[in-house]
Symmetry: C2
Amino acid sequence: MATVDQRAVPDLLGVLAYAELTAFDRLAEDARLAPTLDGRASLARMAAAEVAHHGRLTARLRELGIEPAEAMAPFVAPLDAFHDGTRASTWLEGLVKAYVGDGLATDFYREIAAFLPQPDRALVEEVLADTGYADFAVREVRAAIVADRAVAGRLALWARRLVGEALTQSQAVIAEHDRLAELIIAGTGDLAGVGQLLQRITTAHGHRMRALGLNP
Amino acid sequence: MATVDQRAVPDLLGVLAYAELTAFDRLAEDARLAPTLDGRASLARMAAAEVAHHGRLTARLRELGIEPAEAMAPFVAPLDAFHDGTRASTWLEGLVKAYVGDGLATDFYREIAAFLPQPDRALVEEVLADTGYADFAVREVRAAIVADRAVAGRLALWARRLVGEALTQSQAVIAEHDRLAELIIAGTGDLAGVGQLLQRITTAHGHRMRALGLNP
């Protein structure tokens, strides 16, 4: 693996720290859409897990002598734009967004983490660990599709909109952060490596869509 | 201390479990009003602590053979009515609501907890422990009042509205839950005991208002 510019580490920790804070927000919002008190409590618990991850990342940033708020600041606008542009209006849309959207983001961050030195590689892998959301979302969405087949078509369209918006915003982030772009190129080796990375992410996305019972 | 009806235990655990879930909701909502990323993260952490408390209470309910959702159900409407009737529209209103409103509720629940047998008494005292909110709220509100004296008058009015709404809703809860009412009467001994309990709660409320720099 090629040597990577370690100054990209704070960028990655910063974007992840803010992503966890927005994940908390979104899960807390979606919890209110839950049809049952148990579902609402499940989402609240997942939201709490995101806050714990956020705390691990900001503690590491402070250890590196970096103010967490400063490291997060450049990523506030694009991540907020993504969430504002894809606000779930139903319980099921919220579940699909979290499972499909976070799945994509997680795969992407995990690919980048592989280029990082320790201890940051292990930290990023730890905070990207599934908080139990995947199983929960798959179970709920599949049950809803069994109850009403028309749901599948609507949710597949919704998932495509999420992917489009995620691509737009992640391109904006990378375009403005040379070090992140260079980290990806240096880490994968060359443009062919970048292509393989995107291929792996696309394949995993297809698996997740099928797990929900949706056409990718 | 007089013997109390232990069947009130699930009622108290149920109302507290739902109160923690709504506290999570409200803190998550208020986090979005935070003027800084640090403030937002602080509130998100406190919201996560409420979810952990909720989990301790529901685990105990299950241990007692009671479905948490069933134990919470009777308290959903009055607690939601309180929160819908006192939705904070600014960061400072949210802080005052959480500090003053939760302070009142905590004092009240703690008084009742004193009548419970173990291990429930210890559990309730544990979940009522301050999650760091008090110091945080006092610091922020005092700083805002120093910056603009007019803020104090508006927030004092807001706090009075909160107390009024809290009294209305808690009377509604107790009126519909004979066992909770009997628990309070049996625990305090008699009506004079109830009067002393209310006096202690009122005194503590006055201390909190003055801590914020507001006239009780």
